[in-house]
Amino acid sequence: MNRVKLLFFATLRDRAGTKSMELDVPSDLTVQGLKHKISHEYPTLKDSMKSVLVTINREYAFDEAVIPPDAELAMFPPVSGG
């Protein structure tokens, strides 16, 4: 198992009710697997998983990417700065 940190921003933070959490995840877990895990364990976030953006160590990551040990992960909606 890998220990990782997961950050939430904007709508994801509101729905999660927290800014961040620490998780133990299987060492072969992919981004897609992480989305499934979050959908199951945190029902308030289930609907958000369809359009969520995921980052690994501050770079955009896609469904097939495997999550490395000690990763800083983040989940958030499409950005709206400016």
Binding site: R58, P78, G81
Partner: protein, 152 residues
């Protein structure tokens, strides 16, 4: 000569003159500066009023992505001299500048206008910043549409 690149997320007022001075070199003869502000009254599409916006950012990633936008500008327009990209976060009221993208060059016909335009368009695509709108009708998060691609 090294060209100055400034990128930051700040809670402080954006000082347009100070930033422009910092990216102006002795060889500079033109600057294109875009700033966006909180719009209190929207008439296009869904007409509404805005009391204020609350901005938040994933700060370390946002600053890294701003640096990436600056690098993309330099790759596309090598004649650009200075670049400043600044986003203000926190609670911001109508008429307040929230973002600045400025590019300088020797002359105005060098692509400097397009470079600044590219900068604001890319910021709105890949830099992790969000705003929540507070209006007389309630509050809601503004969400973008762009889905970054691999390598962005």
């Amino acid at each position: 000569m090294t060209f100055p690149t400034i990128f930051s997320i700040t809670e402080d007022e954006i000082d347009l003159n100070d930033l422009l001075a910092k990216i102006t070199l002795t060889s500079t003869g033109a600057a294109a500066l875009f700033t966006g502000m909180v719009r209190g009254l929207t008439t296009r599409n869904a007409a509404h009023e805005t009391e204020y916006l609350e901005y938040e950012a994933y700060i370390p990633m946002a600053e890294a992505k701003m640096k990436q936008v600056a690098e993309e500008i330099r790759a596309k327009w090598p004649v650009v001299e200075g670049i400043a990209i600044v986003q203000r976060i926190g609670k911001l009221y109508p008429k307040t500048p929230t973002v600045l993208i400025a590019c300088t060059a020797a002359h105005r016909d060098t692509g400097v206008f397009e470079a600044a335009r590219y900068g604001i368009d890319r910021l709105k695509e890949i830099v992790p910043i969000w705003k929540k709108e507070f209006s007389p009708d309630g509050e809601f998060w503004v969400e973008g549409e762009y889905i970054p691609k691999a390598g962005e």
